[in-house]
Symmetry: C2
Subunit: 203 residues, 2 copies
């Protein structure tokens, strides 16, 4: 089946919900989906590879990218920038491939302004209690910081309404299967295939 453009798929959700785990599990499946790599000014951690985990940038270079509109979205966390380079995403969907971005809620809403035709998936914890226990199980944060993360998470869940789909992350492989189904279904949407009808009837 011929395609005009690929899909831009945005996977987002509150911090701690398991976006990275789900996206990592999805990559192990045999799909045609391409993965966008974020840029950051954070220093590489042990084992992280340039162009696979992140594009590592100096602060000055990152700010030049912001100024020249080379990022689809960006945000600053704890003195470091994180963002999505625009060029890879635009070229890949123009070539007819689907691309997935795994990003924070605020970034997803920035992308929506530029790409309202994207497929926005909100990854949802089974419960707030479960979300809290996932954040706690990292074991790196104080009670106050966990409380403040939970407040942010609640605010982010309220933004669910801006998304197209909600996927409960009750079990990683179930969430992956739902995301794969959403991508398949979106590729069957009439709006994306209407050109086929023209080809068929004009045969």
């Amino acid at each position: 089946m011929k395609r005009e453009k690929g899909l831009l798929i945005v996977l987002s959700g509150p911090s701690g919900v398991g976006k990275g785990t789900v996206c990592g599990a999805l990559r192990k499946h045999d799909t045609h989906i391409r993965y966008s790599v974020s840029a950051t000014t954070r220093k590489p951690r042990k084992g992280e590879v340039e162009g696979i985990n992140y594009f590592f940038k100096e602060k000055q270079e990152f700010e030049r990218m912001i100024a020249e509109n080379e990022l689809l979205e960006y945000a600053q966390y704890v003195d470091n920038y994180y963002g999505t380079p625009r060029q890879y995403v635009e070229e890949t969907i123009a070539a007819g491939h689907d691309v997935i971005l795994e990003i924070e809620v605020q970034g997803a809403l920035q992308v929506k302004k530029t790409f309202p035709e994207g497929v926005f998936i909100f990854l949802m914890p089974p419960s707030l209690k479960e979300l809290r226990s996932r954040i706690e199980s990292r074991g790196t944060e104080s009670k106050d910081l966990i409380d403040s993360r939970m407040t942010v998470a609640k605010d982010e869940i309220e933004l669910m309404d801006k998304y197209d789909y909600v996927v409960e992350n009750d079990e990683v492989e179930s969430a992956v299967e739902r995301i794969k189904s959403i991508v398949t279904a979106e590729n069957c949407r009439k709006e994306r295939l209407i050109h086929l009808y023209k080809e068929l009837v004009e045969e």
Copy 2:
């Protein structure tokens, strides 16, 4: 995950595209989907079972059902009526189960008036040439009748625009997988899950 209502899924497409074959193959998969059984005034063929293949009705009884609005859609072909009993569909979706109707294009458009929130899937032949060859392979129809069926099929394909999804029936199992994905994805649509968010935040 709690559900408020099931989905009404309408599988339709031009005569000869293979709706019955695809729906039959879908039934062999382990899904939670329920199947609506049509009513008809046609006499049972050998092996057809009341309540499984059709509900067989006398003409007078069928016309009473039409008059009393007991059918979601109906049509007349070669002196026989065919239609979808409303009660089964409404009760099943109200109980939270997804129901699929496999019906003709004109019937699908009637259902859309009553159930605009339904999921309308158009089954598409890979090409008009392939559609013609499928109709010819039945071996029961004259060239004139085949020509007239092809004219109707082209008109029906123009109605693709009224549907939500287009599934190419290039290979039966691929078409079945796409339909299953559409059902999964539709069950993840934000509009259908927004009540969950309320439960979560009000925990």
